[in-house]
């Protein structure tokens, strides 16, 4: 028997015992791994992706030299902690049957101190971890020695990591591991995205000359059939014009839950999750004990319990946010429900794919629109499910904040030398183009400060010791750095605790700051009464009250992807072409008729602008149907260009359909048309000008400041003592703006704003599109149905060209 046959007969004992047959993509992956390739396996959730890479890795180890068997040889990276357990179980299942001499353990933020201590002495053979914990391992002394026998790193759900800074973090860590261990193989597992080949290249990294290291891309041919059913109320008048809760549909949801063994209900926000949980329970009390909730702010023990209970079929339904989006394979799940627009086709289809796990099963997803206009979205999604298109994930490049964090990590553990570090950094996709100037700047920044050294006369972080080794010498700095790595970038979080000290989860500071002692709020499906705030802890007790504020979270506003926008636009343009409304839009006819009566429903060659006045002021609403991010940019651009013509102050609002300029004076849209304000030239200059006057770059800077270690959020155990090191990123932003605008971190905030937030390219395309359209300006008596979801949005930006004194004169103090 040749080597391959030996392997196959070995692995078949596992498969045949379970009456399984290896799928073609699994066999292909095995072959590539046995041949010592690196690569990426593209397989949908629930199709046996773990088994496509695990067996050959173990087989290779079993057949290697005895002496190397005692140490860590495989690192398995998952983007979410909640995935770790599931993966551990499925790996353990294989190990117990096939090679029980190998051990598998989890290490992440949830790992207990006891287990950590044991792992510090001896790591398991297979370690399941997150990118943050992986970087923390690199922060520990002697990491190179501990990891010298690692021959394979598997990155699960790579598509989720790639379009984020965590992806960059992982690229750097992998490159470091490869530098010291040139035999390292990297395997990614990814769901279907539009740029799989790029995903593979980014994961495996580059040669120093900039060319990609070779790797295999293995695609499974398994394709899920997906059926979308839109649930809408019988009478359209029951469907609200705005809002995102969708509670009017609770009654319609109950029969769906009753019909199915286990259902996952996806909501877009955590507060929506909380509210739905309450409403389902009160509509159907017999579900109590069978219904659970899962979102990112709920304490991990409870989350783990929920996940486990789903697997054991103990629950009828789980209401969740994207916290359950990733690959946990919940076999018993039969039905998926999506409440409110999912924003992207890929996400929607992936969620749908979570039900019907057997390859031949049809996945069914119910879509519950939360407001009337979302019915148009629903109609578009149905079409998308029939085609199979997926959006690309764009990898981040030149994230200096992540690079600084990484270099300091190296300096905290064994130290690094500049030339070695540079080749580690240049071999990543993210930094293959870093210039010599930028590299020197970063090294100077972590050792001496930035350009004007006199302004850094007392700064110390990384020292260069005699032989050119970059090293952190201060224990305090090293400790603070380690604490900072796992920090989730978002608002300040406080711990929510019972008086007894039991932790319930985390809550954002701005929310709790609005409450007084004795106030009642809803969290984790239960009403709590605020008792006291003690430094970083919010102490609460259970409340008998059945009413209270709902905890809300600021983060996580998503935008339509460009594909989703295309679908939506076509859906709207097509409304007018047909004499009668399409079936899915029938329930909307009342609203569409009203829109037509007051204003128009735009056709393909029309760009609609509506003006009307309310008690809030003068509204001008533009309908571009390009997705939230493009509208954000376009609203800034318009507001800025108008403000050059006349002194005026705006507050800006936008959603996925369009944007609004709200002002205290009437805006003559003819001026916009005559002055050609939709011009696609000078977009970048104008945006830069307008953004200087606005807040987007500041917001971007918040993440950058935390990641690069400029903002310190405090030690978990001893927060108060470091209070004099705490400062808002806003202040730091201003210091850089005024005294060091050439600082790369400051510049990065703008780069990210244009590249990832405002999506400049999409904006320019959209402007060209508008130039070819006829602008239709409708001066109307009252808000149209289309405008409603936009003008009621409370999250707003501002822009003004009026004299400060003039503005203040027109304003009023906010009193108690």
């Amino acid at each position: 028997m040749n080597k391959d046959n030996l392997y196959h007969s070995w692995v078949n004992t596992f498969f045949s015992k379970r009456n399984w047959t290896a799928l073609p993509f699994q066999q292909e992956a095995w072959k590539a791994i046995l041949k010592d390739d690196s690569g990426l396996v593209n397989a949908p959730t629930g199709s046996g992706k773990t088994l496509s890479v695990l067996p050959p890795i173990l087989w290779k180890k079993l057949n290697s030299q005895k002496t190397t068997k005692s140490s860590l040889f495989c690192i398995w990276i998952t983007p979410l902690r909640s995935l770790s357990k599931q993966i551990q179980l499925s790996i353990q299942d294989f190990l117990s049957d096939m090679c029980d001499e190998f051990s598998v353990e989890v290490r992440n933020g949830d790992t207990s101190l006891k287990v950590r201590a044991r792992q510090a002495k001896k790591l398991p053979h297979i370690l399941i971890t997150t990118p943050e914990s992986f970087q923390l391992l690199i922060c520990s002394k002697g990491w190179k020695k501990k990891m010298e026998r690692v021959d394979t790193v598997v990155v699960d759900e790579w598509h989720e990591l790639m379009g984020s800074k965590r992806g960059v973090q992982l690229e750097l860590c992998l490159s470091a591991l490869r530098f010291y261990n040139s035999n390292l193989k990297t395997w990614g597992i990814s769901a279907t995205i539009g740029n799989l080949d790029e995903a593979k290249n980014v994961l495996i990294g580059k040669h120093l000359d900039g060319s990609y290291v070779k790797g295999k891309l293995i695609k499974s041919s398994t394709r899920k059939q997906i059926e979308v059913e839109v649930v809408s109320p019988k009478k359209i008048k029951e469907l609200p014009w705005r809002g995102h809760l969708g509670l009017h549909l609770v009654e319609d949801l109950i029969p769906i839950l009753e019909r199915s063994k286990t259902t996952l209900i996806f909501t877009n926000t955590r507060s929506q999750c909380e509210i739905w949980y309450q409403h389902i329970l009160s509509a159907c009390p017999e579900f109590s004990g069978l219904l659970a909730m899962h979102h990112g702010s709920i304490e991990k023990e409870i989350r783990l319990w929920v996940e486990d209970a789903v697997r054991k079929e103990k629950l009828k339904a789980v209401i969740c946010t994207s916290s359950l989006d990733l690959g946990v394979d919940f076999y018993p799940v039969e039905t998926i429900v999506q409440i409110g627009g999912p924003k992207g086709v890929a996400r929607f289809l992936q969620r749908a794919g979570r039900s019907g796990h057997r390859p031949d099963q049809i996945s069914k997803i119910y879509f519950l629109p939360t407001h009337a206009i979302e019915l148009i979205e629903a109609s578009a999604l149905k079409k998308a499910a029939k085609k199979s298109y997926t959006e690309p994930r764009i990898p981040y490049v030149l994230s200096y904040d992540v690079l600084i964090q990484f270099l300091v990590s190296l300096a905290v553990s064994d130290g690094f030398r500049a030339n070695e570090a540079l080749s580690i950094v240049r071999k990543t996709h993210a930094f293959s183009n870093i210039s010599d100037y930028e590299w020197e700047w970063i090294l100077t920044y972590i050792t001496k400060g930035a350009t004007s050294l006199s302004a850094y006369n007392e700064y110390k972080k990384v020292h260069i010791i005699d032989d050119g080794l970059f090293k952190v010498l201060s224990r305090g700095i090293a400790m603070r750095h380690r604490v900072q790595i796992g920090t989730i970038v978002s608002d300040n979080h406080l711990n929510l605790k019972l008086l007894s000290g039991k932790r319930l989860g985390v809550i954002e500071e701005w929310f709790i700051s609005k409450l007084k002692k004795g106030d009642v709020f809803l969290f984790g499906g239960q009403y709590w009464e605020l008792f006291q705030i003690q430094q970083m802890d919010v102490l609460v007790k259970k409340s008998k009250s059945k009413k209270g504020k709902v905890v809300s979270w600021m983060g996580g506003r998503m935008s339509f992807t460009s594909y989703m926008s295309d679908l939506l636009r076509n859906e709207i343009y097509s409304i007018q072409q047909n004499t009668s409304y399409a079936k899915t839009l029938k329930p909307l006819s009342f609203l569409l008729d009203m829109q037509k009566e007051l204003s128009i429903i735009p056709k393909e060659h029309e760009f609609l602008i509506e003006s009307f006045q309310t008690s809030e002021g003068f509204h001008t609403v533009f309908y571009a149907f390009e997705g939230r991010f493009v509208h954000e940019a376009m609203s800034h651009l318009m507001a800025y260009r108008i403000s050059l013509l006349i002194p005026i102050s705006f507050s800006l609002a936008y959603n996925d359909y369009g944007f609004e300029l709200l002002s205290d004076q009437f805006l003559d849209v003819n001026q916009i048309i005559e002055n050609n304000l939709f011009e696609a030239t000078h977009v970048k200059d104008d945006l830069e000008q307008s953004i200087n006057a606005s807040e987007i770059a500041r917001r971007k800077f918040r993440d950058i400041a935390v990641i690069s270690g400029l903002v310190f959020s405090g030690m978990p155990s001893n927060r108060k003592r470091n209070k004099d090191l705490q400062s808002g990123s806003q202040l730091i932003f201003e210091v850089f703006r005024d005294y060091e605008p050439e600082n790369l971190l400051y510049k990065q905030a703008f780069f990210e704003t244009f590249e990832y937030q405002l999506e400049e390219e999409r904006l320019i395309k959209a402007l060209f599109k508008i130039k070819k359209q006829n602008i239709v300006w409708k001066n109307i008596e009252k808000p149209s149905p289309f405008s409603f979801p936009i003008i009621t949005d409370r999250l707003r930006e501002k822009l003004s060209s009026e004299e400060l004194g003039e503005r203040i004169k027109k304003m009023q103090l906010i009193y108690q």
């Binding site: 850094y456 270690g709 090191l725 210091v735 003004s800 004299e803």
Partner: protein, 211 residues
């Protein structure tokens, strides 16, 4: 407006756009919350932020002194941000060379174990009664005297038609209390919501606005 004149308890004050007040009757300059050494403290602890910004603080104080020629300066706490660092030096030299009498009301940030302060020509106090006034760092209530204090770094929010908002640092004046804005740059602020009887003098890049 660069300056606003105002009577408090029968005494004449000038509110200056450089975040200080001048008490004409006693030729005193009063300011609070300078946080000298904050940026250097960050630097020493591995946080790379340039400290050019804090130089403006001393420049501002010198300009104020040139203009008003006070005989004494009261600093209502948090003159220094943390323990001694090099940023203190310029200030300590300034204090020792000046003819002016300096009084520091102790703040929660001031660490006075440092010999550097004790040896300089600053009088240290926990609070001070002078005329109809009680100077403290942290605002106090329930005294007969009018309380002049700092600590809070007060700001207010303004609202206008068309959902417009603005946040401005301010002098915060209520019946029996005046809270000074933070004198130092890089200090942050805290939003207060006034009563109808309170009034505020807002600080903007264009000068002072009384509301």
């Amino acid at each position: 407006m660069k300056q606003i004149k105002k009577k408090i308890k029968g005494q004449q004050f000038i509110f200056d756009y450089r975040k200080a007040i001048y008490w004409e009757d006693t030729s005193s300059l009063i300011l609070s919350d300078v946080h000298v050494g904050k940026l250097n403290h960050f630097q020493k602890n591995g946080i790379p932020i340039p400290s050019d910004g804090s130089r403006d603080n001393l420049v501002n104080i010198k300009n104020l002194v040139n203009e008003y020629d006070p005989t004494q300066i009261y600093i209502l706490g948090d003159l220094f941000h943390s323990s001694y660092n090099k940023e203190w030096d310029d200030w300590l030299i300034y204090f020792s060379k000046s003819e002016i009498k300096f009084t520091l009301i102790l703040g929660n940030h001031d660490q006075y174990d440092s010999k550097k302060i004790l040896n300089s020509n600053i009088t240290l106090m926990n609070q001070l009664n002078t005329g109809p006034f009680l100077f403290t760092h942290i605002p106090v209530k329930g005294f007969d005297e009018y309380n002049i204090c700092g600590h809070v770094h007060p700001a207010v929010k303004l609202r206008g038609l068309g959902r417009q908002y603005m946040k401005l640092n301010c002098f915060y004046i209520s019946d029996n209390q005046l809270i000074l804005p933070a004198f130092g740059t890089f200090t942050g602020s805290h939003i207060l919501k006034p009563n109808k009887t309170d009034h505020v003098i807002c600080l903007t890049s264009d000068g002072l606005f009384e509301l």
